[in-house]
């Protein structure tokens, strides 16, 4: 389909003969055959692309005014908020954009988990996605350090100190990271540099992610294979371009609600206090999107153990395609998995809740149980389910879904009535 595209204009043809860029774009964005039954959970891929581009553009612009120096960083952010034309808008878009980006990526991941999009032949799409998620975490963490408020400073201190858990070389590694003996200006400047670099790496991975997606084509809510170009598919444009646009605009309404009316709701008040190396805030909490992982970190009484577990909690996602032994993709046709997947989501949210609490007493005990359950889901439940679960019969194609006898009757009655 992409090979037989001929640009209409002479200039387009001249260009395309020499560099078939238009072919590439045309093939991936316009007639690309897409399953016709994708629901709104599938619009988050487009929304995430928008988030990434928004963060890159606003970030680029903020970098024109920001100063990455421990003595000047806090004031330079306030300079952006007060003096730079529309600086307040750009900064609030960027800071809330990070939160909305994570909101969207969690929904995107949950959709993939629910409908089994990570399964054969889409394992690599999922693994690239895990790497994107990892880079997002690193980027967001480093970005949060830049305003150089109290949470920035102490967040950076706590997280970089995780590396001191490495046996033997821990201290050398932290000193190397800091460029000194504590968090300070050298760290701020290098974090700024890396924070600027990483979104472009994410962008490159996104291209691979989409490329890998377009080999087998999209999964769909039924989780069955669709024949490309059959009546089960519709061209990406205009069907999904417009549907994605609609979803994006609804998402933007939420986004704008945060930016214009509660821009600091998702932030922490302590970050409006300039960094003070002599005084730790009473209660250090990461941004909300890191809370589940923070809870796992704190569930372990051992320093090194906590770090390993937290890293494993993300790394284990990369093995999901093989930990899940079921051949059936969509939770729609997996009665047991459907229960467990909701339990898993609830457990992650519970961990998020616990991440915001002080780690003692009952909270700590629940945190430990939730952590164990998090890993049990991947290591015990998912592998077992593939063997013990009796899945429902799958439809042959999207055009002929399997119907229960009652549904079949109802449908017959309905078509009879309309005829």
């Amino acid at each position: 389909m992409s090979d037989n595209y001929v640009p209409k204009s002479a200039v387009g043809k001249w260009f395309n003969d020499r560099l078939p860029l238009l072919n590439l774009i045309y093939g991936h964005l316009l007639p690309y055959p897409t399953p016709k039954n994708l629901n709104y959970w599938w619009t988050f891929g487009g929304i995430l692309t928008f988030c990434l581009v928004t963060q890159i553009i606003t970030g680029l612009v903020l970098a024109m005014h920001y100063v990455a120096d421990a003595d000047l960083a806090f004031a330079s952010v306030e300079h952006i908020m007060r003096d730079v034309n529309y600086g307040w808008l750009l900064r609030y878009i960027h800071s809330n954009g990070a939160s909305l980006f994570f909101m969207a990526v969690y929904i995107h991941m949950a959709r993939s988990i629910f409908y089994g999009s990570y399964k054969e032949p889409r394992e690599l799409i999922w693994i690239i996605g895990v790497f994107i998620f990892l880079l997002m975490i690193a980027t967001a963490f480093m970005g949060y350090v830049l305003p150089w408020g109290q949470m920035s400073f102490w967040g950076a201190t706590v997280i970089t100190n995780l590396f001191s858990a490495i046996p033997l070389v821990g201290e050398s590694v932290t000193n190397w990271l800091w460029g000194g003996y504590a968090v300070g200006s050298p760290l701020l400047t290098r974090f700024f540099t890396l924070h600027y670099l990483m979104p472009f790496l994410i962008f490159a991975l996104v291209i691979l992610h989409v490329w890998a997606l377009h080999v087998p084509g999209n999964n769909n809510p039924e989780g069955i294979n669709v024949v490309q170009g059959s009546q089960d598919t519709v061209p990406f444009h205009p069907h999904y371009v417009v549907k994605d646009m609609f979803a994006l605009v609804v998402f933007l309404i939420v986004f704008a609600g945060f930016v214009f009316f509660v821009p600091n709701l998702l932030g922490h008040t302590d970050n409006y206090i300039e960094a003070n190396p002599l005084q730790t805030p009473e209660h250090i909490v990461p941004e909300w999107y890191f809370l589940p992982f923070y809870a796992i970190l704190r569930a372990v009484p051992d320093k090194l153990g906590g770090v390993i577990l937290m890293v494993s909690a993300i790394a284990i996602l990369a093995f999901l395609p093989w930990l899940d032994t079921s051949k059936v993709r969509s939770a729609k046709y997996r009665p047991l998995y459907r229960q467990f997947v909701w339990l898993f989501f609830a457990n992650v949210i519970l961990l998020g809740y616990l991440g915001a609490q002080t780690a003692d007493g009952l909270f700590l005990i629940i945190g430990r149980i939730a952590t164990v359950y998090y890993f049990a889901h991947f290591i015990i439940i998912l592998p077992l389910l593939g063997y013990i679960e009796k899945t429902k019969p799958l439809p042959k194609s999207l055009s002929e879904p399997v119907l229960s006898p009652e549904e079949r009757q109802m449908k017959a009655a309905a078509s009879g009535a309309s005829a």
């Binding site: 007060r82 069907h239 549907k243 214009f260 009316f261 409006y272 809740y353």
Partner: protein, 258 residues
């Protein structure tokens, strides 16, 4: 699936509860909540209150608290107290700042001008500490955004000085305040009846002064609040219309797909 969905919803509820609970943590009295004109989607500051608030800040607070992020020029900017330019120039000129080195390399004092930052009561933090028994009075530029409860909290704190219960012993330089964390604070009560004489003739009750200075500090922390809400209203209206248009376009496109 129903049961698990309900479970999921319960957890969502718990999560939102946890956020509110987190803010309430720390055994403090829930702050008072006066009606602020700047709240709500179309909120604005009251000009007169901001102007009085500046007077309270300069006459009462600025002896101890700096506002390093503000400049005198901010006083005439749109969305703020909106003093006239001559008024603000006169206000600035009441303060002295260091001039640039003269031809002999000496640094003299000159009256402040609009482009100067608010003059700090201290040369440096150490001086501020020394003058206040070791407790550095924090900078007030973004104070409203730097405390849980924001404007409500500051307003309540300024009015929260009551006699300490007999079973509480207070050290020197520590005062009892219902709204402070642990009910103890290093700042003494400052707002007494007629602590300032308002130039516009308003009666200077402690409530009035607390209200005015809190309004002023809210503006100082978020000087673009009015523009933000104004633009936000337009943006959301635009997006709502666009979403309706896209909804119908989308429906039209999918009409023939079954």
């Amino acid at each position: 699936m129903k049961i698990s969905t309900n479970l999921f919803a319960t957890f969502l509820l718990l999560l939102s509860f946890s956020i509110t609970q987190l803010h309430a943590a720390g055994e403090m009295k829930e702050p008072m909540h006066p009606d602020w004109s700047f709240e709500g989607p179309l909120g604005k500051f009251e000009r007169a209150s901001l102007q009085r608030g500046y007077q309270v800040y300069t006459e009462v607070c600025s002896g101890c608290h700096s506002m390093n992020l503000l400049s005198y020029r901010n006083l005439i900017e749109e969305g703020g107290p909106e003093f006239s330019e001559p008024q603000a120039k006169a206000m600035a000129a009441a303060f002295e700042v260091k001039a640039a080195p003269n031809a002999d390399g000496e640094i003299e004092m000159r009256p402040a001008i609009l482009s100067d930052k608010f003059v700090s009561p201290y040369e440096n933090e150490q001086q501020g500490r020394a003058a206040n028994g070791g407790a550095y009075p924090p900078d007030l530029s973004v104070m409203v955004k730097a405390r849980h409860g924001g404007a409500d909290y500051l307003y309540s704190l300024l009015l929260g000085y009551v006699d300490a219960p007999s079973d509480i012993k207070l050290d020197d330089g520590v005062y009892y305040n219902e709204y402070a964390k642990g009910q103890k604070i290093a700042m003494p009560q400052v707002l007494y009846e007629d602590a300032v004489v308002y130039t516009d003739g308003t009666t200077a009750t402690p409530e009035q002064m607390a209200r005015d200075v809190t309004m002023f500090l809210t503006w100082a922390a978020e000087p673009k609040l009015e523009a933000r809400k104004r633009i936000g209203f337009k943006v959301i209206s635009y997006l709502l219309i666009l979403s309706v248009l896209l909804y119908f376009t989308n429906r039209q496109i999918w009409k023939d797909t079954h």
